[in-house]
Every structure is written in structure tokens, then in C-alpha cells.
Symmetry: C2
Subunit: 249 residues, 2 copies
Amino acid sequence: MNCVMYVETKTRSIIKAISWRILATLTTMTLVYLFFHRLDLAAAVGVLEAFIKMVVYFLHERVWNRIKYGRKEIPSFVVWFTGLPLSGKTTIANLVYEKLKKDGIKVQRLDSKDVRSLFPEVGYTREERNRHIKRVGHLVSILERQGVSSVASFISPYKESREFVRKLVRNFVEVYVKASVEACMKRDKSGLYERAIKGEIKNFTGISDVYEEPVKPDIVLDTEKISPEIAAGIVYDYLKNRFIKNGRL
Amino acid sequence: MNCVMYVETKTRSIIKAISWRILATLTTMTLVYLFFHRLDLAAAVGVLEAFIKMVVYFLHERVWNRIKYGRKEIPSFVVWFTGLPLSGKTTIANLVYEKLKKDGIKVQRLDSKDVRSLFPEVGYTREERNRHIKRVGHLVSILERQGVSSVASFISPYKESREFVRKLVRNFVEVYVKASVEACMKRDKSGLYERAIKGEIKNFTGISDVYEEPVKPDIVLDTEKISPEIAAGIVYDYLKNRFIKNGRL
């Protein structure tokens, strides 16, 4: 569960008042003692102050909870991983997603497989693929406007639909997960590429369907040279710098 | 814009420290004066206290901004308006949406028309309609899990897909917007019903396609008897009671 719409409860304000009071009353008592050298009066001022100020502090907190000033919005964004089957998109995207979640960022993970199992009727022709990606684009755009970021990993082989998503979204980060067809085939333990070569899988990107390389991706990750952990670190640092910056949540 | 992912900036903490200090130092000075009847010492304690405690207060705030305790989540929900064409779904749903937004609730409006213009390839057969509604169901379910509520208005004539959405979603509120076919026809200035009767529009709910009434809707609004404003008020009060309660945002 990562709903992040909060109200601050009265109990929180009360506990804050008490924790503050302990700090503050000790300070006051020390000051009074240093000025008057009388422990009895220092104690009396301290006790009275403690009671009165706890109430005042509580009210101060309640008023501030209605004031928006100084509450900084964290921009939401869409990180879009594109690349050949088995280029490493899902693995890297998962790692990035986990890092963002750990930071308390509101983020939705969208992977080709999951989304296709939600809408199983989608095919693999150019038209169907484009339509599918555009639909996902609308989804991430709605999420972005509601303050939810997305980590999306889709082969998304065609420029047309990737550019469509880029235009729809405010903060779009295109990550090209680069690996040669040969390298991807070597990693392929389930024999997808083999079946595609035999013609058992139609419209298979890299074999029987084209992959249109991104022209100006925001990040390129060459997974023949770097590990998924290092690749995820690169993306994470990029997001941190561009969107999150000095903001701890 | 209604992104609601916040961090509290340092400036906010500083301003809070100052506004608190004015209140608090005045209290301390009054107390010291009442005890010692010496204005000069009261002032001296006050000035010294003001400086030291502002720093302590600031640090206290920064620590509390990292503490989750007492930050109450507001549950997200899905309000789903179903009913014949021109029964009044969109009008009422718009009013409910505006009320929720005014309260600061994170909420997404989804209307049949808008969603269909996003995915224009969807037809009106039973299969296509069910698939379409299920897709919308997945969307509202993702939003709900991310803390975003939805106000959805769709004819959604079939039990099957409405029940599908109900099961997918945690907090589902089915609102049946009830009006007889005759009443809907009277309201129909654009002649949709007429064209459906002539056979110019196929699969038109209420004329050439069935509308399966909800069995156990959470709310029924008879729009032949009550105005859209009153209807919206009923739904809003229901949501307020069930999900938002005493929570001001």
C-alpha cells in the first residue's frame, strides 16, 4: 500500500507538543536558573509554562496544518524503458522502481507482460502495437497528472507511439536499453528467439519485425557492457537530479 | 493541477519557528514578570530564550517531518454511475466531482465520452462494451491503489462488467441513475433516441440493446423525482460519511 494522501491527526499534534515541551521547558528552566540562581522559582516557572504552552503549541500546529505555504510539490514523471526482447528492460526497471519506492516516491510499475495480461486481446501487428502503447500512454499521463510517477517497460518498437507518449506526458524520460540481437539471443533461456526464427512466433521484434532505435533517448544503457545494477543506478541518479534533487521525503 | 505529494521545505519550518516563537516568548516573559516583578529580567530571559529556542524548534520540526506517526491516510474510492443514455449520469457525476475537488480530495473524472475519444476503436457490441468497461476498471483500480479516487460515469449496461469492476476495486460505490426510457427520450434534444428507434444507431441501450438494472446498487437516484443538485448532494454525503468522515484535508 502506498497511498500518500494524508491528514495530520490531532494525536500527532499532541505528541509533537509534548516532545517539544520537554525540550523547551528544560531550556527555559536553565535560563531562569542562570538569571536568578533560584531553583524553586525556575521549577515553578517551568511547570506553569509547560502546561500553558502545550495548549498554545497544539493550537499553533492545528492552524499550520491548514496553511499550504512551504509545502513543496514533487513533480511526477514517466520513465519509459524501450528495447529488444531480453535486452534487460524489465530487470533494470524493477530495480529503479524499488529504489524510488524506498525513497517514498509515489510510483506505478507497468510492464509489458502485466499490462498485456490485463488486456489479453491485443495483437502484435504494427497497428495493434501502436494502439496498445498509446493506451498505456494515456494511463501514465493520467497517473502523472494525479502526482503518481510511472516506471514503464515495453519493447515499444515504433517511433510513432513512443513520440505520442512523449508528447502526452509532461516529464518523459526515454531510456533505451541497448543490446544487439545476438546478445539478446544468448540470454534467451526460454527459446523465444529460436521460435521466432523458426517462424513459430510472428511479428517478433528483432527477427520478423523492425525495432526503430530511439533518435534522442534521454538515457542509453548498453547492457552488453554494464550490469543491471549499474544501469539502474544511472537512471536513478538521473531522476534524482532532474526531479527530486535535494528533496528527501 | 492537483498533485498532492509534498515535502515540507526548510523555509516552512523557519516561518513556523518564528510564528511559534512570538507566541511562546510573550508567554514566558509574562510568566517571569508575574513571578519576579522585574521587567528587565523578563525581557532578558525572553530575548535569550527567543534565539536559542528558534534553533531548537527548527531542529524539532525537521525531525518530525521524517516521522510518519499520526499521519492518517484518507482511503480512496471509486464512485461508478450507471444508467440509460440521458438518465443524468454525467451531470450528477460532474457535480460530485467538483464537490470532492473543492474538499482537496485527489480525484479523477472519467466519463464515457472522454474515454471513448481516447480509445476510438471501441465498438458497441456486448463483447466490446464489456471489454471496454473492464479496461476502465483496471484503470480506476490502479488509481485507487495509488491513493487517487475516481468519479466514473458510463452507461455500463451489463451486470457482468460492473461486477468485474466491483471485485477489482477496494471501495466501490455503485450509483444507479434511474429514469424510464420515456423520461430519457423527453430530455433528448439531440435526437439520439429517435435515431436509435429508426435504426440509424445500432445497439442503443434502452432501445435496441438491453440495460441490466443493478441488483444491489449502493445508491439509487431517481432523476424523474429529484434534481441533479440534490442527487449530487446525496452521493457526496454518502462518500463523506463512509470514507472521509471527520477528516478535513
